[in-house]
Symmetry: C2
Subunit: 319 residues, 2 copies
DNA sequence: AGAACTTACGATGTACGTAACGATT
DNA sequence: AATCGTTACGTACATCGTAAGTTCT
């Protein structure tokens, strides 16, 4: 039994049982992968894969029983390397973060700036995705950290720590009816919004859940004419007069977004909590703690370590 | 990085930093071990050992940080092999149990007999030791299971499940003063016992703690003339009239121990709970579950799995 | 002098990629 | 016909044990 065999096994599952894909992912030859898998099965004395002729279709029962152990083994192998790198050169390395557009565009920049200044030797990779993609990337070890408002708390193998809380705002073009009434002291209602065509995030993104909940609870039928992944797109169409925007408060900047007016909507939609997610059981290098604390000052190293040590489901979810 | 390097690293710690010992334990040559360790250090880019010249003295900080990850990695490697063996031939294998003399001699035999009859293809190794030795053997993976009354609950990496409860009995030779008074209806007291020379288990064994506690609480000074690891030795000296024995109730057998009289002492000493210990995180082969249930029928597979899944300290300690 | 680790060397075995082959859709 | 996995083969590299060497007790 060796690491290459185990990596091949795990990657075969991840690649959906396509050995050619496995070979590419592991930078090796396809016959090599074929051999690794055969050797592993021979050594364990068990068929791990369901085959149809020569095709691989899925895992057998023993294969399913094996997978979690192999995952943990390879996770610890990664941790061993990280411990080495961390002590060998604490201030040098790679920090990979997956975030939603909203976070990458509005929340992370200041933290990234400060972090890069303080840790110039750490190169930073930022990848963008949906909350579920982010969760998958943290789980697979592709990235060290995930930042999103949705979904992250739903995975038992992730530790999701609250970073900050925010509410929605409604954005309209200057001179829009809602802007005038707001200026006149009218307190915005869901009924007001339901009367207009709306533009907001796609379902599953950036607090969209709370928006739908609010309308549903009020028995109102909101009409979304456009749904986007990010506030920039939303604002663009709001400017064009297509509809009324509902975006995260952090995504509105008075000076940059001139021509638009933001109307506070915290009384209409539930408050959202943006979280940072870490894979349970992974060793975090020193600068990962540093970055998290730069982003969310309450998340000091001891706080994070305590959360990592706690059992799944035990998580303190308050801010 | 490979398994041999990691095994060498772990074994070096276990062997107290004697590379010659490591080589013997791993069935390899000493220069080989030396190389493995050097290669591991080189690959990680960190010194793992504190050296005085050529001598190994201990772990450096990186070494200490590394150890738990290596331990878990190798544990999972063992689990992978077990999953294979379990599915390849569920009814064939080796079951190793560490137990105290009391358990091995009095509690285990009937379970062992039934188990061997039901699983003839499983060979069984029973090793004897003190409760702390047993705990260490389970922790190191030398044995699958530990059975003892003491100490097992004190290790966070062990899951200690209650099997049965028992109390102490006092044993004396037939015709002894205490036997006569017992037959006459006198209820035995600690004062009675303190007046006689006592023979019992060594400290740390088989409920001895509860014996000392009882005397201390009553403000009495018990006089132990002989301390042994097992009830057989104790009974032998009781027969010789050296003193009054205090042993586990399970260790007395009316038919076998003729010439001796047992006097119930459950009102004098606290009840003891014998436990079976498993290493947290280890995969248990099917027949291990079967054995545990044979020994303690309440410990069914789901019960054991639930306990293994629970966090350290959460354990339900009641019977 | 002896115990303990390191270095050097040679033989064996292992691992991997290329190329050809077979099966499936 | 194309995709996907297996088999065959040769080279290169890695591993391991023996033996000699060095340092410290």
């Amino acid at each position: 039994m060796n690491f290459q065999q185990l990596r091949s096994f795990r990657e075969t599952v991840r690649q959906g049982f396509n050995l050619t894909g496995v070979a590419e992912a592991l930078n090796t030859s396809q016959p090599g992968v074929s051999r690794q898998l055969k050797e592993l099965e021979e050594e364990l004395g068990v068929e791990l894969f369901v085959r149809a002729g020569r095709r691989f279709l899925g895992l057998t029962e023993p294969g399913k029983a094996l997978l979690p152990h192999v995952e943990r083994l390879l996770l610890e192998a990664e941790n061993v390397r990280r411990v080495g790198a961390d002590f060998a050169s604490a201030e040098q390395g790679l920090l990979t973060i997956a975030a939603t557009h909203t976070q990458a565009r509005y929340a992370l920049p200041s933290a990234v700036k400060d972090f890069c200044a303080a840790h110039p030797q750490v190169s930073l990779h930022l990848v963008q995705g949906s909350p579920r993609q982010i969760a998958a990337q943290v789980l697979s070890g592709e990235v060290d950290l995930g930042v999103a408002t949705e979904a992250l708390s739903e995975y038992p193998d992730l530790v999701a720590l609250p970073c900050y809380r925010w509410t929605h705002v409604v954005v309209v073009a200057e001179g829009h009816e809602l802007a005038r009434r707001d200026a006149a002291g009218h307190r915005l209602t869901l009924q007001d919004l339901a009367a207009h065509p709306l533009i907001s995030y796609e379902p599953g993104y950036t607090g969209r859940g709370h928006i739908d909940e609010a309308f549903a609870k009020a028995g109102l039928q909101a009409r979304f004419v456009l749904q986007a992944m990010d506030a920039d797109v939303i604002k663009t169409y709001v400017e064009l007069g297509i509809g009324v925007g509902v975006i995260a408060s952090v995504a509105f900047d008075e000076t940059r977004d001139r021509g638009l007016v933001a109307i506070d909507a915290r009384h209409l939609f539930a408050t959202n909590t943006t979280r940072v997610a870490i894979k349970r059981g992974s060793y975090l290098r020193g600068y990962v703690f540093a970055f998290i604390q730069t982003f969310a000052p309450t998340l000091t190293r001891p706080v994070i370590e305590a959360a990592l040590a706690s059992a799944p489901g035990t998580a303190a979810d308050g801010l």
